[in-house]
């Protein structure tokens, strides 16, 4: 099939960017969206132009590298998939497809569709872990964890930190990301000792990075490739409240 592409091109973070039109022929419905972008790049290189820069690695929806806003929707029209898992059979011959990077001020653009998501790493560094050093663990089965509890923790733990939630949120909030980590660890008995403190520290960092607040709009859940539930945000809020009352984060802040 044939597509009319409008792709965001930007040389670097401090230069102006704009949408550029490309006509692309011979796109196969079996190709993934990134394979379609490969095809475009191959054509651009052959014409002596610079290819479109975009992040990608696993190409199977698990590393969280890829991310494009496609026709206004983070990761495109199909629910519960990443851009690399989106297949061209979801488009029609002659379609116009607009491709843009994640847009959020805590995710500055590096080049074309590549953005800097290191703010997510700093949120985890602020407290998104269980403080256990290598070698100090007891036998794994000494601490039973109910299957339901463990399954729910796993639902939250599936987050791939792609950033679609932030890109989709009108407030540029990272609450779904932060809540997923807080819930994953906070639902497990191993994560209890640091639970509320962890929540407060991560939230503080999230605010410091400039992410917006959550007003329950729900765009994040709608675009999340792992279908992570907004219910986890309520849990996070509760932990933050309890932690704040207990004075967590004050000493450290």
């Amino acid at each position: 099939m044939k597509l009319h592409l409008k792709v965001w091109r930007q040389k670097s973070g401090n230069r102006q960017g704009h949408l550029v039109d490309y006509e692309l022929d011979n796109v196969s419905p079996d190709e993934s969206f990134l394979e379609m972008m490969d095809l475009l790049n191959e054509k651009l290189i052959e014409k002596g132009e610079e290819p479109v820069a975009f992040d990608h690695d696993c190409r199977e929806g698990i590393c969280g590298s890829c991310g494009m806003v496609i026709n206004g929707i983070a990761h495109g029209p199909k629910a519960a998939v990443t851009t690399c898992q989106l297949h061209m059979r979801n488009f029609k011959d002659g379609d116009t497809v607009v491709v843009e990077p994640w847009r959020a001020s805590p995710f500055p653009i590096i080049k074309d569709l590549v953005v800097d998501r290191s703010a997510f790493d700093r949120i985890i560094q602020a407290g998104g872990y269980i403080s256990v050093s290598t070698g100090s663990a007891p036998d794994a089965n000494t601490l039973p964890v109910g299957k339901e509890q463990s399954d729910l923790a796993m639902d939250a733990a599936q987050c791939i930190a792609c950033g679609a939630c932030v890109a989709a949120c009108p407030n540029g909030s990272a609450m779904l990301f932060t809540a997923a980590k807080a819930a994953h660890l906070g639902l497990l008995p191993q994560g209890q000792p640091e639970r509320n403190r962890r929540a407060v520290l991560m939230i503080n960092q999230q605010d410091a990075e400039g992410f917006g607040g959550c007003t329950n709009i729900g765009e994040c859940e709608a675009v999340c490739p792992k279908s992570i539930s907004m219910d986890f945000i309520a849990r996070l809020n509760r932990d933050v409240l309890v932690g704040t009352i207990a004075g967590a984060g004050r000493v450290e802040a």
Partner: protein, 656 residues
């Protein structure tokens, strides 16, 4: 470092090698006691002195992240590097099926010895006994560590850990977190790493690529890095270097590995004197989604755990175009169950892959391109119900449906083997140190533990064993004893390495040819798959060895790398990796050609039993082939590490 740009050798017959014997430094004593005793005998670094040592850790996969975090906890000054934008995105994230451990929670007869035995046998007797035994011992600590970190492994209703069985084993010892075990284990290690970054024991450098190793006075003392955003070529000094940069399956272009996986770190270390062992031991995974067309950029694995409940078959009639559900039982050939009644669909990967190739090659392939076999869940769904299957493999089924547009709950999956894992890698001794003192190699990047074939769910185990539990001891032992002079980046060795890297960048940009990097990569991959893939012959390998240098020469004359060197330039990154793949490909073929036997993933068609199984030659080839670089255009030196089997009797593998 010489870059080999023109056809170096045209191999018409086997080149002559200089040979030497290698000692892996395995400690004495009974195998069960070696590691404990060795740990006691190793030298320690005084806690107050640890922070004076700088350790450069390349890679943040399971091996690198666990190592960097553990070294940071011990108090060393660690610098960690990865090419992705975050350490959490390393290729380990994609592992699906699970991780082995000899916990024997099921009381089904598992033990450290059995895991050791299965690994040695599964590796077709080409691994070092002492290392494998240690791995089996440590396996149980890994599960404890990961659970404590909050890895949400699958549980039973009673709250205890669930397990499943994997290929090559008759016990259920594989721990898993749905179909995302690698993701969860990596996030555990990433979180431990993040904690150390916050504690400032680890300095993290994402979006950087290591492009050369610096060796001073015979020891690894630093690296040259390209900052992928600014293009700046920088140098870092260390007291030791740890390479945990993953495997090289992408030599074959199409593989299950992430697109960025590459061999540049290990290849450039090889050219600085680190031996590269058994490069021809590559693993083809039996259960991947078959190729759909020309533009395919990678292959997707369907976890081997599916073979627990899925049954593999092809129609008995060649070229049968019927809907699989309309083919009656009697007209289906469950070829693995028939041929291997004891292991059935759970035979090791190499055996399952070759069997699939055999049926497809003889015209029984299924799907539009006739390039697959069926993996059928209907029996399991009838027996256990759809919800159980969904619970076990839900995300894999979704993934399959999304890629192929077919519903595997209703129609059998189509699968075919694909390149997946590389057992070969930099040679390491018992302490995981390469032949360059001060350069340690962990995870898939080293050659250890899996011999000629890796069992499923054992790579995650090895990566974490290396990083959490082996390196932290052996690194201390090295640093406590090494006399390390003061080194700065002004040292001529740094300047030279930096110059070489810079020069390569400039040369790429100056070629301005007519072919894209990918087009060369694809052509190299196809050549390797055809000539050095699931089956190899002396003839096909000779063919590859003539073709590769020609293609490489064309690459250096005609590749088109657009853009400049001073910003993010993904084509430039790829060009560097493909240049290294070209050189490594040649060594893979040379190694395959020299090994006149079949073992594990290395199947030389000339050497097989009457019923088509791999035929080893223990008398002549029970050794690790560790290749030593001898200069551009010169045959490498072959160092042999003899393999002795004191605990597992060498025998013809049988899964019947």
């Amino acid at each position: 470092m010489a870059t080999e740009t023109s056809p170096a050798v045209t191999v018409t017959q086997m080149p002559t090698f200089t040979e030497a014997t290698l000692d892996p430094g395995v400690p004495p004593g009974p195998i069960e006691e070696k590691w404990e005793k060795h740990k006691f005998n190793m030298k320690l670094v005084n806690p107050a002195n640890k922070r004076k040592f700088t350790i450069l850790v390349l890679g943040t996969g399971l091996a690198g992240a666990s190592a960097a975090a553990s070294l940071g906890e011990l108090g060393y000054n660690v610098k960690s590097f990865c090419f992705q934008d975050s350490p959490r995105r390393a290729h380990s994230i994609a592992a699906q099926g699970g991780i082995n451990a000899a916990k024997n929670y099921r009381n089904d007869g598992d033990s450290v010895f059995r895991l050791f035995y299965d690994t040695i046998k599964g590796g077709d007797y080409r691994a070092r006994e002492a290392n494998v035994y240690r791995l089996a011992q440590i396996s149980t600590n890994i599960i404890d560590q990961c659970v404590a970190q909050g890895v949400p492994f699958a549980r039973e209703y009673g709250g205890l850990l669930d397990t499943r069985s994997f290929g090559g084993a008759q016990v259920s010892r594989t721990f898993y977190a749905r179909g995302q075990t690698g993701q969860q284990l990596l996030l555990g290690a990433y979180q431990a790493l993040s904690r150390q970054i916050a504690a400032k024991t680890v300095e993290m450098h994402p979006r950087t690529e290591m492009l050369d190793l610096v060796v001073i006075d015979g020891r690894a003392r630093g690296v040259v890095i390209r900052d992928l955003i600014t293009g700046k070529i920088e140098t870092y000094v260390g007291d030791a270097v740890v390479m945990a940069t993953g495997g090289y399956s992408n030599v074959y272009y199409l593989s299950t590995n992430a697109k960025g996986c590459n061999a540049s770190a290990i290849w450039r270390a090889y050219k600085k004197g680190a031996y590269l062992a058994n490069p021809c031991f590559t693993q083809i995974h039996p259960t991947c989604i078959p190729v759909a067309g020309e533009s395919q950029s990678k292959l997707t694995l369907m976890s081997e755990s599916l073979r627990n409940d899925g049954r593999i078959w092809v129609p008995r009639k060649a070229d049968d175009k019927r809907n699989p559900n309309d083919i009656p039982e009697g007209e289906r050939n469950y070829y693995l169950e028939e041929r291997y009644p004891a292991f059935g669909n759970l035979v090791p990967r190499d055996v399952a892959s070759r069997a699939a190739k055999a049926v497809v090659d003889s015209g029984y392939g299924v799907g539009e391109l006739k390039n697959g076999v069926y993996l059928d869940f209907s029996t399991a769904i009838k027996r256990l119900g759809e919800h159980v299957i969904k619970d076990r493999y839900g995300n894999l089924f979704d993934m399959y449906a999304n890629i192929t547009g077919e519903d595997p709950y209703k129609v059998p999956m189509r699968i075919y083997p694909a390149l997946h894992y590389t057992m070969g890698g930099l040679w390491v001794d018992y302490n995981l140190m390469s032949s360059i003192p001060g350069l340690f190699v962990l995870g898939e990047a080293n050659f250890s533990d899996h011999g000629a074939n890796r069992l499923g769910a054992s790579a995650l185990m090895q990566g974490l064993s290396d990083g959490y539990f082996v390196l932290p001891y052996t690194m201390g032992n090295y640093l406590a004893q090494a006399t390390l002079g003061k080194v700065t980046t002004d040292d001529p060795a740094f300047k030279e390495a930096q110059y070489t890297v810079d020069d390569q960048v400039k040369r790429f940009l100056a070629i301005k040819g007519t072919r894209t990097v990918d087009s060369f990569h694809r052509e190299l991959g196809k050549l390797m798959w055809d000539d050095c893939g699931m089956g190899r012959t002396a003839e096909s390998l000779q063919h590859a060895l003539t073709k590769i240098p020609q293609l490489r020469a064309e690459f250096w004359a005609n590749v088109n790398v657009p853009g400049g060197g001073n910003d993010l330039n993904q084509e430039l990154e790829k060009a560097g990796r493909v240049a290294d793949f070209f050189e490594l490909a040649e060594l893979i073929c040379l190694d395959a050609l020299h090994r006149n036997e079949s073992c594990g993933g290395h199947f030389r068609e000339e050497f097989q039993t009457p019923d088509g199984e791999a035929l080893r030659d223990d008398e002549n080839y029970a050794y690790v082939a560790a290749w030593q670089y001898a200069g551009a255009g010169v045959s490498p030196i072959l160092n042999k590490e003899p393999l002795k089997f004191d605990y597992v009797k060498l025998s013809q593998r049988s899964y019947k």
